[in-house]
């Protein structure tokens, strides 16, 4: 895909180069005319479109205002045939982009395998790469799987077998780890940011100088370099963020002159796909997607208001946008999960979090146990019952010989009957027998009598043969609910209340049969209407710290903690207690297979990923969003085991400071112009104002949507979370500079002075880059005094060895 993009860009560039050689100032108009012409030739069948485009071209040509310009465009119109030739190697711009890509690659790929050790979060992503290599299912709540898959692609191309224990930062890589190819993809993504920044500024209709400035700033941003050279996802995320913005800009520039041309379609589709890829890497990508969507919505709204277009035409435009910007991203997103689930088909350490049905769909693990179980639960079935909710941990309904203590610590009494708990480990005491209250048999009849929704059952604990019971006694830890016990008759006035009505929650009709794994059921107590529920509290020592199970009396609607499903299941064969115990100890056998549809697996996986709550642990290098803007914090990524060479995530402080300054300048100028326009004082010509607004909406908007949401997040945050926002800020910087130069510097003298200042400022940025370079690449050991000299802020944590 990137190849296609590059080629398309090259074609465009060569053509643009041609025009700018002749007369730089008229570049956009000329290009417009050419492209109008080119696209016309491809779509002559639609007369209306041709007419419209003709008008547009006419307008563009008129806009030139010069006869020479018109002649020039006509010339180019005729010359287009030559331009199609692939041999046209002309323009300096082309070389610019090539050169930018070259230095970008150089800066990101130079000594990529150094250090040959696990650096910072590589320890985190590496384990997932290993899982991919071994095809083992895992669950990572940090983001959708596309990013992990891309990293794993590097491992796949490098022939990684997944055999590396990712357990410690700084551990040396063994020889089977293809470090170069693992780090290649993020590095490539990081390198392409440089030409892409150039292209974006150009597409925003700012000058080549500004575009070069943006690219060169991205090039010497230390934090971006560090982050790109390791097995991390930020650079890939930024790449797709910028790609979606760039392709949207290309698309909207084409919109004026050649709608529905192939390149128009290409860039529109690419916008959707790039957005979806960004979301697929990290959820943060959603915000850039929303930004692009809202800008597209504003443009579409103008389109609706454009009364020169026919209704049908407007409708077609809207339809194309809906398909490309809403439907395609959703499909692509689903595709990521599809590939993810296809790739990972073996069971692994994260199985437990998933439902029984999901686990059974994986090879090995639960599937091995449950393969061939009978599907329909019948009277006499032996089952284990798993709590569907699985919070605070997945567990099975459990009972054991021990009874509730007569009196709890707080003085309340209990029934002193046998404890019923939820136990997070597989155990023979998790087995229950489903019994027909009307009969005494504990075996499955022939033919088996399946149990349906609404049937009354009793649950017999397999090892102790006591019946599951609840009564109006306060539960040990949740006094508002009923205690659940296995009934023991103490000959006091407490009769057994052990009838339960079965309710299948996910039934399709009221006569559904209770199925293993698939059916999610509730047990409603017949006498008291209480519902069997996992309360989530841990019992004290007398309950072996297992989880409390209660009868929820005030059923305030549906909650997943009241839902259970059968996990292991077999038809009981022996009536005798001793034989049955033997039977329970032996593993289940029988055989039938089952499949879960992709959508069911996707929705479960996605839901678990979103709701999984890991304990937010503190981290030495965690920081708050406010510290990012001023670069008050850094992250030490790696320290050489012997020398003082080290890698830090540290930004080029000149760029950070001036980017923030540029944004403030932009905001002030914007409001100033806006207020003056409202009073009908137009400082800027209309087209200049429009591109100024669009640049601000994209760059400031991009910064805001990638930065402000972090204030609402409760997870542990790091400096690298700021990099996507920073990239947008950097792109804004040359835009503001050009604006100041063009519109605020009134005399030639002022302009010269300003240019000189810009050059001075840029060289200071280069100087900072060069000074911090040892910490970015980590290739030079520095003496303690040099290190101390690099500690420009007290809050920077630069590691100095004590000898």
């Amino acid at each position: 895909m990137s190849l296609v993009r590059k080629r398309a860009a090259a074609i465009r560039l060569s053509r643009r180069g041609e025009s700018s050689v002749e007369q730089d100032g008229e570049r956009p108009e000329c290009r417009a005319a050419q492209e109008g012409a080119r696209c016309d030739s491809t779509q002559r069948s639609d007369p209306q479109a041709v007419r419209r485009r003709g008008e547009a071209r006419g307008a563009a040509l008129r806009g030139l205002g010069e006869k020479q310009g018109i002649l020039l465009s006509l010339l180019f119109y005729k010359m287009l045939g030559f331009l199609r030739h692939p041999l046209v190697v002309t323009a300096d711009i082309n070389l610019n982009v090539v050169a930018l890509t070259g230095v970008g690659l150089l800066s990101r790929l130079w000594r990529l395998t150094y250090p040959r050790a696990v650096v910072f979060d590589e320890v985190y992503y590496g384990q997932y790469i290993s899982f991919y290599m071994k095809r083992i299912f895992f669950l990572d709540d940090s983001g959708p799987p596309f990013g992990h898959m891309l990293l794993a692609l590097g491992g796949y191309l490098g022939g990684f077998d997944g055999n590396f224990l990712w357990n410690r930062i700084g551990a040396e890589y063994s020889s089977n780890v293809p470090v170069w190819s693992l780090r290649l993809l993020p590095a490539l993504a990081g390198a392409f940011l440089v030409p892409m920044a150039y292209q974006i500024v150009l597409e925003l209709n700012f000058s080549h100088c500004a575009a070069m400035g943006a690219a060169l700033l991205v090039l010497i941003e230390n934090a971006l370099i560090t982050q790109s050279r390791l097995i991390l996802l930020e650079s890939v995320l930024i790449f797709f963020n910028l790609l979606s913005v760039l392709s949207y800009l290309k698309f909207s520039n084409l919109q004026k002159h050649s709608p529905f041309s192939p390149s128009w379609w290409f860039w529109l589709m690419l916008t959707g796909v790039a957005c979806s890829c960004a979301v697929g890497i990290k959820y943060m990508g959603v915000f850039t997607y929303l930004l692009v969507l809202s800008i597209a919505a504003v443009h579409a709204w103008h389109l609706i208001g454009d009364q020169t277009l026919s209704n049908v035409c407007v409708f077609c435009h809207l339809l194309a946008r809906t398909v490309a910007l809403l439907i395609i991203p959703i499909l692509t997103y689903l595709l990521f999960f599809y590939v993810h689930l296809i790739l990972l088909y073996r069971s692994g350490p994260h199985d437990q979090i998933m439902s029984s049905a999901f686990q059974a769909s994986l090879e090995g693990g639960l599937a091995r146990i449950t393969r061939g179980q009978p599907l329909e639960v019948a009277y006499g079935s032996q089952v284990t019952l798993r709590s569907v909710f699985g919070k605070p941990m997945p567990c099975w309904l459990h009972s054991h010989q021990n009874t509730y203590p007569m009196i709890y610590e707080n003085g309340r009494g209990s029934s002193h009957q046998q404890q019923v708990t939820c136990y997070p480990f597989k155990d023979v005491n998790n087995w229950w027998i489903v019994k027909d209250p009307g009969r005494h048999q504990l075996v499955v009849g022939n033919p088996p009598r399946p149990i349906r929704h609404g049937d009354i059952v009793q649950l017999v604990h397999g090892m102790t043969t006591r019946l599951l019971n609840t009564h109006d006694v306060a539960a040990p830890l949740s006094p508002h609910s009923q205690e659940v016990s296995c009934y023991i008759d103490y000959n006091i006035s407490m009769p057994a209340q052990n009838l339960w009505r079965l309710e299948i929650v996910n039934r399709e009709s009221d006569t559904d049969v209770w199925k293993t794994i698939m059916s999610e059921v509730r047990f409603v107590h017949v006498n008291t209407s209480a519902i069997l529920k996992l309360s989530g509290a841990h019992l004290p020592d007398w309950g072996f710290r297992q989880l409390e199970v209660v009868g929820e009396k005030l059923s305030r609607g549906f909650h997943e903690s009241m839902v259970w499903n059968v996990e292991e299941h077999r038809y009981g064969k022996s009536q005798e207690q001793k034989e049955r115990e033997l039977e329970l100890h032996s593993p289940t056998q029988v055989d039938i297979s089952r499949n879960l549809s992709f959508m069911a697996r996707f929705s479960e996986l996605q839901w678990r990923m979103l709701t999984l709550r890991t304990d937010d642990s503190e981290h030495k290098y965690s920081s708050t969003p406010l510290e990012w803007v001023t670069l008050d914090t850094n992250i030490a990524y790696w320290l050489h085991p012997r020398t003082s060479a080290q890698i830090h995530l540290l930004g080029n402080i000149t760029i950070w400071a001036s980017a923030s300054l540029a944004m403030v300048t932009y905001a002030l100028l914007f409001f100033w112009y806006l207020l003056r326009r409202r009073r009908s004082i137009r400082d800027l010509p209309e087209d200049c104002w429009l591109r100024w607004v669009l640049a601000g909406a994209l760059c400031c908007g991009g910064w805001a949507v990638n930065y402000l949401p972090f204030f609402m997040m409760e997870k542990t945050l790091f400096l690298y979370h700021y990099l996507p926002a920073l990239t947008f800020q950097i792109i804004l910087l040359p835009v503001v500079l050009q604006h100041v130069n063009d519109h605020l510097c009134r005399s030639q003298l002022q302009r010269s002075v300003f240019s000189a200042l810009v050059v001075a400022w840029y060289s200071s940025a280069c100087h900072v880059f060069n000074t911090l370079r040892p910490l970015t690449y980590g290739d030079t050991p520095l003496s303690p005094s040099e290190l101390r000299a690099l500690r420009w802020r007290d809050s920077w944590d630069i590691l100095i060895r004590k000898y």
Partner: protein, 820 residues
């Protein structure tokens, strides 16, 4: 002649006429008339009156005047419609013949002025009468059976209790700002309640205690919601039927009714929200007469209501946001009006800053000032606040206490963690159990005052008794290395490279040593946050950190509860992450040192801004602390608009008197449908306008009402509903009610407009009028009938539960999740 001019003036052009001299009086009068009796044919109740009197009421020329200037387009559009009707009735002879009864009106038009004036008065009276009816009905429903049940219902236990606290002047802590509870307390006080009832738990009988004053006050405020909503809708849509429909929806909603009948904050909050909304739209329609008395009145009333809303609950922020957005767009329009000079603009800006920012802020602070002045006795809320704060409460041990001001070696102190509800640094003669770090003496934080909280400050290198009178007093300074010896057990505060019991990444903190002799792991550097080296440490005021010298970690409380072996006190750790959080900041609270002069704590009393800031921090943290547990049932925001589940106010069993907070499903589902329908028609109209479709004048007017008036209601709904999706705290069904008010207003506006549009399609037959009247009437009657069905939910029911066919509510349990 006059007729002709009015006919020839298209509605759009009329609004752009140059500004006429400001004939304030007539414009006002005209508007009011138009407001209550727009010339539309379809007025369900006053239709007859309107037909008789409205049409020819004043010469058309004046209508033109009326529409000049800066009238909001909502009005212009609506008037344009009425103009059309009137014109047809009056001037076209055919039309006059077609509409038979109007002949009388024709005569009236030509009759002397006296008659016109009389009819005007009559209509005004009619409008007032209708308003009176609505208000009366609202009061009647809210006050009916207000005294039942005579026991505590649901959250009355909190808010009633807090009312009592105000009467008894004891300090307490709540997550909401104080205005609502203060008003409840005031109402109780005025109605003779003495504050002695305990309000222990729901279901307790009030017996001889007077509770009707407080309930009556809440019901009184709750009753005003309906007239407010009625007037708001009338103002934005200029249509009586829409206003009536809204009023009916709210009057006959069991949820609003239930919520208004008890001692709760919600009726008070909703009162202020609706008052703010009403005064905002009123002031919006005063824009043509800026700086007039009524303009100032409504503007400042908006500000006052905003302060009230925010003073009751932080949910009031949403209405502030709405008013803010409205003000910004208003100012933006003014700014774009080039006929206004910048000086006038500045005046506008300053007026809004004064009335909408300065005034509410002043009032809000005044509320807190009263709160702090009234509550001057120590009470259950003390522990939530800092030591300095507690010093102002009489009865607290810090009140009027006198202790040495600066910390010196040899002082005996207690050290309090600054994190809310975290307690004092504590140790006791129990060791950490086997397997948890080193088996040394436990160090915890403990919420209560106890001898085991006392520590002695010692120098790190000498063990001599600093209290020896021969030695000079030596003050502890910022950056000093000290040792803290536990007074009761003579062990030193100690830390080492063992993981803490619960927070694995931190180090364990223990008590170590015998009789004060330990090792170098007992040394701590004491630092004052944001101070320079060498400063003395002040009691209460200094925020200190204790940094362990050997490991470089910071003493902190993780806030986690230790298991049984730690007596369920809170864990103390030494955290290696040097982040500045409240967990690792402490202050010295009690301080004993016989060698130092005591000073009165009064000098340490915090100033009012400090108290204000602190109480807000505590409230915010309290709000964030209300987190639901994983396995609990919690109400989700998406449950609310579909009326998925109610809240049980009182009673569970068959024999109990049961009250169940649940919206009238007919009303709620109609609201839900209306929102969907509104989005559909609204976007359809917006797209049509954007495409430049030329709508007939009447439809144009209606669509303006739909887009502007409806848009305002929709914005209110969105602002009062969607933020809840982002909230992490525990949520309840009743949080939706402010949003529900807005969605009912939207429903009223939408259905009136839609029916008018339908009628317009079929114009001018009598069928058209029939459709409008019939539609509105059937909606009104349907709501009333559903209220008849569901009223036991609010007024209380006794007898079997609804599942039982014998129950009075049998067959009404339309959703399984309702349990009444």
């Amino acid at each position: 002649m006059l007729c002709d001019t009015s006919r020839l003036l298209p509605a759009g052009a009329a609004t752009t006429l140059p500004a006429q001299p400001r004939s304030r009086g007539s414009a006002l009068r005209c508007r009011r008339r138009e407001l209550h009796f727009p010339g539309h044919p379809a007025l369900p109740f006053c239709d007859f009156l309107a037909a008789q009197l409205a049409r020819p009421s004043f010469p058309p020329g004046r209508r033109v005047i009326l529409r000049r200037g800066r009238m909001p387009p909502v009005m212009g559009g609506s008037l344009a419609g009425s103009e059309r009707r009137a014109r047809r009735g009056r001037c076209g002879p055919q039309a006059a013949r077609a509409v038979g009864p109007d002949v009388a009106a024709e005569d009236a038009a030509r009759s002397p002025k006296r008659l016109v004036q009389g009819s005007r008065r009559f209509k005004a009276a009619g409008g007032w009468a209708l308003l009176a009816v609505v208000t009366l009905l609202s009061f009647a429903t809210r006050f009916h059976r207000l005294d039942e049940p005579p026991h505590i219902c649901w959250d009355e236990t909190h808010f009633g209790k807090m009312g009592s606290y105000y009467i008894n002047r004891t300090f307490f802590f709540d997550v909401h700002p104080p205005l609502g509870k203060m008003l409840i307390g005031l109402a109780g006080y005025l109605s003779g309640y003495d504050g002695t009832f305990l309000f222990q738990k729901p279901g307790d009988k009030y017996e001889h205690h007077s509770y009707m004053g407080m309930r009556g006050f809440c019901a009184f405020l709750g009753s005003w919601l309906i007239p407010f909503a009625y007037l708001t809708v009338l103002e934005v849509s200029k249509s009586l039927p829409a206003a009536l429909l809204t009023a009916a929806l709210l009057t006959f909603d069991t949820g609003c009714l239930t919520l208004s009948q008890y001692i709760l904050l919600d009726p008070i909050l909703m009162f202020f929200i609706m008052a703010a909304m009403l005064s905002m739209v009123k002031y919006n329609s005063c824009t043509d007469r800026p700086f007039s008395a009524s303009w100032w009145f409504w503007l400042s009333l908006t500000g006052i209501s905003l302060a009230g809303a925010l003073g009751v609950k932080f949910v009031g922020l949403f209405i502030i946001l709405q008013v803010g957005l409205n003000t910004i767009s208003d100012l933006w329009h003014l700014f774009g009006d080039l006929s206004l000079s910048l000086v006038t603009m500045g005046k506008h800006l300053i007026a809004r800053i004064l009335c909408l920012i300065v005034l509410p802020l002043a009032l809000y602070m005044a509320i807190f000032a009263v709160h702090f002045i009234v509550l001057n006795k120590s009470g259950p809320g003390d522990g939530f606040f800092s030591s300095a704060f507690q010093a102002r409460l009489s009865g607290n041990n810090l009140h009027n206490a006198s202790i040495p001001e600066h910390l010196a070696y040899g002082s005996v102190i207690t050290v309090k963690n600054l994190r809310m509800a975290s307690g004092y640094l504590h140790s006791h003669r129990h060791l950490y159990p086997e397997g948890i770090g080193a088996r040394q003496q436990q160090v915890t934080t403990y919420l209560h005052k106890d001898y085991n909280n006392l520590w002695i400050v010692k120098k790190h290198n000498t063990n001599s008794d600093p209290l020896d009178p021969s030695l000079p007093v030596e003050f502890v300074r910022h950056g000093d290395i000290i040792r803290l010896e536990h007074k009761e057990t003579s062990r030193n505060l100690h830390s080492h490279y063992h993981e803490a019991p619960l927070t694995r990444k931190h180090y364990q903190v223990t008590g170590y040593g015998i009789n004060g002799t330990g090792d170098s792991n007992d040394f701590w550097r004491i630092e004052v946050v944001n101070r320079k080296f060498g400063n003395r440490i002040k009691v209460l005021r200094s925020r200190i950190r204790l940094i362990h010298l050997v490991t470089g970690c910071v003493l902190g409380s993780s806030g986690k509860v230790l298991p049984k072996w730690g007596w369920e006190q809170l864990e103390v750790t030494c955290t290696p992450y040097l982040k500045e959080t409240l967990n690792s900041i402490w202050n010295v609270e009690d301080h004993f040192n016989p060698k130092l002069p005591n000073i009165s704590l009064d000098v340490l009393k915090p100033s009012f801004p400090e108290i204000l800031l602190e109480s807000h921090m505590v409230m915010l943290r309290g709000n964030n602390g209300l987190k639901p547990k994983d396995n609990d049932f919690t109400s989700k925001p998406w449950h609310w608009p579909i009326n998925y589940q109610g809240l049980r106010f009182s009673g569970i069993n068959d024999t109990d008197f049961r009250v169940y907070l649940l919206g009238n499903p007919v009303v709620w589902w109609l609201n839900l449908l209306s929102i969907a329908l509104y989005l559909l028609t609204g976007s359809f109209t917006a797209v049509a306008l954007q495409r430049g479709v030329h709508l007939p004048a009447e439809v144009e007017g209606l669509s303006q009402v739909l887009l502007r008036g409806g848009g305002q209601a929709l914005l209110g709904w969105v602002l009062h509903y969607f933020p809840f999706f982002l909230m992490g705290r525990i949520l309840y069904f009743h949080h939706y009610f402010p949003a529900m008010l807005f969605s009912s207003m939207l429903t009223g506006i939408l259905w009136d407009t839609l029916l008018r549009l339908c009628a317009w399609r079929l114009a001018p037959s009598s069928l058209a009028r029939g459709i409008h009247v019939g539609g509105i009437l059937s909606l009104l009657l349907g709501t009333a009938y559903s209220f008849y069905l569901f009223h036991p939910l609010a007024y209380g029911m006794v007898g079997p539960l609804a599942q039982n066919p014998l129950s009075p509510m049998a067959g009404l349990r339309w959703l399984e999740s309702w349990d009444f």
